[in-house]
């Protein structure tokens, strides 16, 4: 968390992590399309020749609180490919929360595990405690065939402390739920860790409502984001 006293600005860094082509950028694109212009900035995305994220994407989401503090959420994605680990480590530095976007396809189980283990390693390398930092898991691509069943996902949810969400990011389903799940965890974490609510006078309701009011929920299910090749 960064706090700029002169500008009364709090910046939170939220990282979308996960295996290659699991839909991290799509999540950001969906959020970008669903949040009205006054509540967000430009989505910076640098696609490479094979459509994969090589560096990172960045979407700023912001609002001002009644106490006059400007809250800025910076949503980042990391490149999923195994070889880009140094970039992932760099983007993860100073993260306040992580959304892990897993691929629901049964065949991509190993890729999910590998990326998850990599996240744990990179958190430790960045001095972040994997047992404390807010993390949610999203099982994306629920519309595809050959995916994990809901029962299997429930079993995986019971295995750890992270809340689990299901999504079809290209249509916008589950994207906002994931973000809000993560934001409420983040608020709680920041209160415990940095006394956030007392210091900045931002209650959890205000924190979430300020973003919620900019969201056009009528778009859920109507989005049509082209998945990467």
């Amino acid at each position: 968390m960064q706090f700029n006293i002169a500008q009364k600005e709090v910046t939170l860094k939220i990282v979308y992590y996960g295996p290659a082509l699991s839909g991290k950028t799509t999540n950001l694109q969906a959020i970008h399309q669903m949040i009205r212009q006054e509540g967000r900035g430009r989505l910076m995305t640098l696609d490479t020749r094979d459509d994969r994220t090589l560096f990172f994407d960045l979407l700023p989401v912001f609002f001002s609180t009644s106490s006059g503090i400007k809250v800025k959420l910076k949503l980042f994605t990391v490149p999923g490919q195994v070889i880009h680990n140094s970039t992932r480590k760099l983007v993860l530095a100073g993260a306040d929360a992580v959304a892990f976007i897993a691929d629901s396809q049964i065949s991509l189980n190993d890729a999910n595990n590998e990326s998850w283990n990599n996240l744990m390693d990179n958190m430790k390398a960045n001095g972040l405690n994997p047992d404390e930092i807010p993390v949610v898991i999203q099982f994306n691509k629920r519309d595809l065939p050959n995916i994990k069943s809901d029962a299997e996902i429930d079993m995986i949810a019971r295995k750890g402390r992270e809340p689990v969400f299901k999504a079809v990011a290209i249509k916008g389903f589950g994207v906002i739920e994931t973000l809000f799940g993560l934001l409420s965890l983040t608020h709680r974490y920041l209160c415990e860790r940095h006394n956030f609510e007392t210091k900045f006078k931002i209650s959890q309701t205000e924190f979430l409502e300020n973003i919620y009011k900019h969201i056009d929920l009528s778009l859920v299910g109507k989005l049509d984001i082209k998945p990467k090749a």
Binding site: E38, F55, N109, K159
Partner: protein, 451 residues
């Protein structure tokens, strides 16, 4: 509502404007680049000449202005969406409006104050209003919509407003600069990322082309070496047959043939290694009988097994021996493994080959996302050879590495490519190669191939 006109500069912007408006203006990045302020003395001019600052209601004709006069109190300005007005508060005598537009096209904000009537000219104003409006009540009510000030009051007000405006402009400009700075910084970041990205792509292209060049070079060279070798091997064999009565020539010819075959095998290995490293291995699966194929591979080692008096066994634990796999690659992997086992097992030792089906289940995994149950064919080759040191076992898959000492290696032959090739092919087929070993007891290598 009683509004003290002189206290504007003291009230400050926050109180003059309601919180929502301020928030709207400042909340959405708020690059206010223009603040317009107008103050009118409506009494100095004829009604028809008065200009209102908003674009669409500049003086047009008396009829329009009559309408404006009539409706100002009811918030006419508020009803003109094309002007982009947000708020008109007629009760206070001041209509102010702020219209933060889309920040992406730079916000333009207006602060419009007015109009007022000069106290000195009140009567004249009333007269001029009478020309348009007949009803006394209406005249009174429309004039009530204006503040009445003396010229002195008005000039004081102008001063106050100027002060207020300066402060307002200053803070807006500061905000504008800050957000512009942020924007510039983001642009710079963006440009920097793009440069880095391009450089990465260039580097990637360079590395790819170098690697392609290397692979092409090795392929060409090895191909060129193979062609003459085929002649050497073929003709030495013929020479041996032709001169079967001359034992010396026959022996020389046999040595040439043997060494030539060895060289050909090395060249083939290098060729395979280069395609493993360039990732250009093609897997061609077909339905085959794995038990039959394994038997044939083992039988091809008959001479070597005989020579060392090894005990070699093959035990298939499968009911159905039909599987889909790449026969050529499987043969290469198993041959490389058998080569090693036979090479490093001393006379009288044993080599055992097992074939079974394995399922790795989700319960066996501590992974966060569990694992998908997978079926594998497992081919295990166990020998009673010299074994590999625990600290050297992770090195055996490195090319040109041999776990035994140099003296032994020379005696046993080989370049140390066998296991590297076996692993490369196993992985190309979607499987894996596992090795366990104990010095003095033997080595166990397992090839797992997905079904």
């Amino acid at each position: 509502m009683d509004f003290d006109i002189y206290s504007i500069s003291e009230i400050g912007l926050n109180k003059l404007l309601d919180r929502d408006t301020v928030k709207e203006l400042f909340g959405a990045i708020g690059n206010i680049v223009r603040v317009e302020l107008s103050l009118f003395d409506t009494s100095k001019k004829k009604y028809s000449e008065i200009r209102l600052p908003a674009q669409n209601i500049c003086r047009t004709n008396d009829k329009v202005f009559k309408e404006v006069c009539e409706k100002t109190r009811k918030g006419l300005l508020n009803n003109l969406p094309s002007v982009g007005m947000k708020r008109v508060d007629c009760e206070t005598g001041f209509s102010y409006l702020l219209s933060p537009l889309d920040y992406e096209t730079d916000v333009v904000g207006y602060l419009i104050l007015g109009p007022y009537i000069s106290a000195e000219n009140r009567e004249r104003t009333e007269q001029s209003v009478r020309k348009f409006i007949d009803s006394e009540d209406e005249i009174r009510s429309s004039l009530n919509g204006f503040r009445i000030m003396s010229n002195q009051e008005a000039s004081q007000l102008m001063k106050d407003i100027k002060q207020l405006l300066t402060a307002f402009l200053y803070s807006s400009y500061k905000m504008y600069l800050t957000s512009k700075m942020h924007l510039e910084a983001e642009k710079e970041n963006y440009a920097e990322i793009e440069i880095l990205n391009n450089r990465l792509n260039e580097m990637l292209n360079e590395v790819e082309s170098v690697s392609k060049y290397k692979t092409a070079f090795i392929k060409t060279i090895t191909h060129e070496l193979r062609t003459p070798l085929t002649s050497i091997i073929g003709f030495s064999e013929m020479l041996g047959k032709e001169c079967s009565d001359n034992s010396e020539v026959r022996e020389y010819a046999s040595t040439i043939n043997q060494k030539g075959t060895e060289l050909l095998r090395i060249i083939n290995d290098i060729l395979i290694l280069s395609s493993i490293e360039s990732g250009t291995i093609e897997v061609k699966k077909e339905n085959r009988d794995i038990v039959e194929d394994l038997k044939n591979i083992i039988n091809s080692y008959y001479n070597a097994i005989e020579k060392k008096a090894l005990r070699v066994s093959f035990t298939p634990y499968v009911e159905n021996s039909l599987y889909q796999y790449d026969e050529e690659k499987l043969k290469t992997v198993i041959s490389k493994l058998l080569d090693n086992s036979i090479k490093f097992t001393s006379e009288g030792g044993s080599v055992a080959v097992f074939l079974s089906e394995k399922t790795i289940s989700p319960e066996m995994s501590a992974e966060r996302f569990g694992i998908t149950p997978k079926k594998y064919i497992a081919i295990t080759i166990e020998d009673t050879g010299c074994g590999i040191d625990e600290d050297k076992i992770h090195m055996v898959f490195e090319p040109f590495y041999q776990a035994v000492s140099n003296m032994d290696t020379r005696e046993k032959g080989g370049m140390g490519l066998g296991l590297k090739i076996a692993k490369g092919y196993a992985e190309a087929m979607g499987g894996e190669l596992k090795i366990e070993s104990q010095v003095g007891i033997g080595t166990k290598v397992t090839l797992l191939l997905p079904v």
